[in-house]
């Protein structure tokens, strides 16, 4: 080991000149040795479980298998066929798509709007507002859920009391299958937008001031500046934020879990919630694993589509 480190500087100079075979030389060996612990960890704790999950998804691993491992049967793609034949699955998929393609864009828009406000020249106490908007992100969801359940309470809740001022009749936010999904979305957006807000603020601070000044000299109005200067400059940040947010909303679990448990009438049941219920409520671990892989495929496709859209825009620009 010490010999390897000793010759490293010489090897580095050497490597700078010509391309070398990746696994030759003492430097590479040292590099491998240094990388090995983390690679091993990834292999054991990431690829191991993923492969195990893939195998599970091809079996009927269930409560009987937990008691007697010999009762596991290999059923090929049976779990996947079962999922595609179930109305519960399609319902959960539809709701998950709503979370991802309605919830995530709203969340990103709210984050961006709030970031513009926080970053505006005329805003005072910027750190204060940043902290306020970030506070929901670091608050425990369970505590937040209790407060929001009070807000949404149909008879005494603040939300209904506020709406009543405008003559809007009472809504049973979490009990009505039509309103529970929007109610959960509002909570999720409120809870999570602060994180993206910080990323947007950082992005906004990196937009060169000269560009704005130049636009102002050219007589651009505020929204023109936003559209032609701020937004294009934010594009990379925007892509990052939208991809991660969409993925997060695909995996939405805690909010519906603590607020409605997927109800009423499964109207807020996301795929992850369905997976959880199938896996840990009914012990169909094989089926739940199959659901996980379906969700993985869906997320993969959605993310690839986002990247592709972004690339096309860049090429057009």
């Amino acid at each position: 080991m010490s010999a390897g480190v000793g010759v490293a500087p010489a090897a580095a100079v050497d490597a700078g000149g010509a391309k070398r075979a990746p696994l030759a030389g003492p430097q590479a060996r040292a590099g491998l040795a240094l990388a090995l612990p983390s690679v091993a960890l990834i292999l054991v704790f990431f690829f191991g479980p993923v492969l195990y999950g893939a195998w599970l998804s091809l079996t009927d691993f269930d409560i009987y298998a937990l008691a007697d491992p010999s009762s596991v049967r290999f059923i090929g793609l049976g779990n996947y066929a079962h999922a595609f034949a179930e109305t519960d699955f399609w319902n959960a998929l539809r709701i998950t798509l709503v979370y991802a393609f309605v919830g995530a864009p709203i969340s990103v828009a709210v984050s961006l709007a709030a970031a513009l406000l926080v970053d505006a020249k005329t805003t005072r106490w910027k750190p204060f507002f940043r902290a306020v908007y970030f506070a929901p992100v670091v608050t425990t969801l369970v505590a937040v859920a209790i407060v929001w359940r009070y807000l949404y309470q149909p008879q005494y809740g603040l939300v209904n009391a506020f709406l009543a001022k405008f003559g809007i009749p009472r809504v049973d936010w979490l009990g009505d299958p039509h309103w529970a999904l929007p109610a959960i979305l509002v909570l999720a957006v409120w809870k999570n937008f602060g994180y993206n807000l910080l990323i947007f603020v950082a992005g906004l601070q990196n937009v060169p001031r000269e560009l704005h000044e130049a636009a102002e000299l050219d007589g651009a109005r505020a929204w023109q500046k936003f559209w032609n200067v701020t937004l294009p400059e934010l594009a990379p940040v925007f892509l990052f934020v939208s991809v991660t947010t969409v993925i997060n909303y695909f995996q939405l679990f805690a909010e519906p879990y603590v607020m409605t448990q997927g109800g009423p009438l499964k109207s807020t049941n996301s795929l992850v919630l369905l997976m959880y219920e199938q896996g840990f409520r009914w012990w169909r671990l094989g089926y739940a694993a199959a659901l996980a892989f379906i969700l993985f495929a869906v997320i993969l496709v959605a993310t690839a589509a986002q990247m592709w859209l972004q690339q096309r825009r860049e090429r057009a620009a």
Partner: protein, 382 residues
């Protein structure tokens, strides 16, 4: 607990409280992690699941030389603790469903007491409906609850599942008869075709006279006292479920004391189970929580039998039938009301709803059939 520790100076009991909604997950993860307590309270619909997982200690050897036994308890309730002939729990408190009704509305319709059979029940509902006029019903049976159709099926003698819990028996004549009766209540508009979510406040609707009865459980004794207006407090009562011919059965629910697998203090744990099962402790628990005692002797307590509303529960408990003891039961039960709901709303006929139900349930129980056939093949070989 302090009394128990005083009696057994060598034993110290640590009590951990967990809310019902989290109990199932907490106990299962504890089972996987090997950190289950010595003794626990388990909803008896979970016994089959935990029994299948081998998380419970069979209690038969302990019961063999002790004062506790099936005779001391309500039979139907005791049977919810027996899985494939092995006893895994001792009933602690009990739960069942029966009718809560408004005496004044029955009286106005010409009834001085609750009828005890299906025919009389339906006639009574019809009389109340006619007396009440439009927008009024006889009874509230939430369409998204499995309890009532299942209880009616049990009353009609349906085993619900056939062949050792490996197939649905919903198309058999017994369940079909109960199902027709249940659907008939909605067809004749004696009950509104709505679920829990579509009614804002059932206590309010009952006070208002939208309906005169509902089928519900013992916790409602307290809720009715708290939530109904003072003027109605003397006007409500409870009655045993009407059956096909005379007083009918209801389902056997409640909670049991179990010993978890891996306990290091089985003898002490058993002492605690015995202590908590004493009649005087059961009555004490009832006073504290309102949960009805499982032991028959405890019902000799005058406070329990003095009140006609509690007494009806005592009567009902002598007629209880357990639901099928398979781990899939809770999920099967949700399928029952889903199909019943479709038939009530006219989306399908009764026949095809039951056929669908059997098909779904058969699919769910496929593993059990396979396990049974494998067991049979193994038995033949040896």
């Amino acid at each position: 607990m302090r009394d128990f520790e005083r009696e057994h100076p060598g034993i110290r009991v640590q009590v951990q409280q967990i809310p019902w909604t989290a109990a199932h997950e907490k106990l299962l993860t504890a089972h996987v992690g090997g950190s289950l307590p010595d003794v626990g309270q388990l909803g008896n619909s979970w016994i089959s699941e935990f029994g299948t997982l081998k998380a419970l200690v069979p209690l038969d050897p302990w019961l063999a030389h002790g004062a506790l036994g099936r005779d001391a308890y309500f039979g139907g309730i005791w049977d919810t603790n027996v899985l494939d002939g092995v006893t895994y729990g001792v009933p602690w408190y009990v739960d069942t469903r029966l009718l809560f009704y408004r005496k004044d509305m029955l009286a106005r319709a010409g009834y001085s007491s609750m009828p005890t059979d299906w025919r009389g029940w339906k006639a009574c509902l019809r009389a109340i409906k006619e007396h009440g006029g439009p927008g009024r019903y006889g009874i509230f049976l939430p369409t998204n609850e499995w309890m009532t159709p299942v209880v009616l099926g049990l009353q009609a003698g349906s085993p619900l599942l056939a062949d050792g819990g490996t197939r649905g028996a919903f198309q058999e004549p017994e369940f079909r008869r109960a199902f027709e009766f249940y659907l008939g209540i909605f067809r004749d508009k004696l009950a509104p075709a709505i679920g829990f979510n579509e009614i804002a406040n059932k206590y309010q609707e009952l006070s208002r006279g939208t309906f005169a009865m509902m089928v519900t459980g013992p916790w409602e004794l307290g809720e009715f006292t708290r939530r109904l207006p003072d003027s109605l407090q003397t006007q409500w009562s409870t009655a045993v479920m009407p059956g096909p011919n005379g007083p009918g059965a209801s389902f056997a629910g409640g909670s049991s004391l179990v010993m978890f697998h891996g306990t290091r203090h089985p003898a002490e744990a058993w002492e605690l189970v015995k202590f908590l099962s004493r009649p005087e402790q059961q009555v004490r628990f009832w006073r504290l929580t309102g949960d009805l005692p499982a032991r028959r002797e405890a019902w000799a307590d005058t406070v329990l039998t003095a009140d006609e509303r509690t007494r009806a529960f005592g009567d009902q408990l002598t007629h209880t039938v357990p639901c099928p003891m398979v781990p899939e039961w809770e999920e099967i039960a949700t399928r029952v009301y889903e199909q019943a709901d479709r038939a009530i709303r006219g989306a399908t006929s009764a026949d095809s709803a039951l056929a669908t139900l059997d098909r779904l349930v058969d699919k769910m129980l496929e593993k059990r059939r396979w396990l049974a056939s494998r067991r049979a093949a193994g038995a033949k070989k040896s």
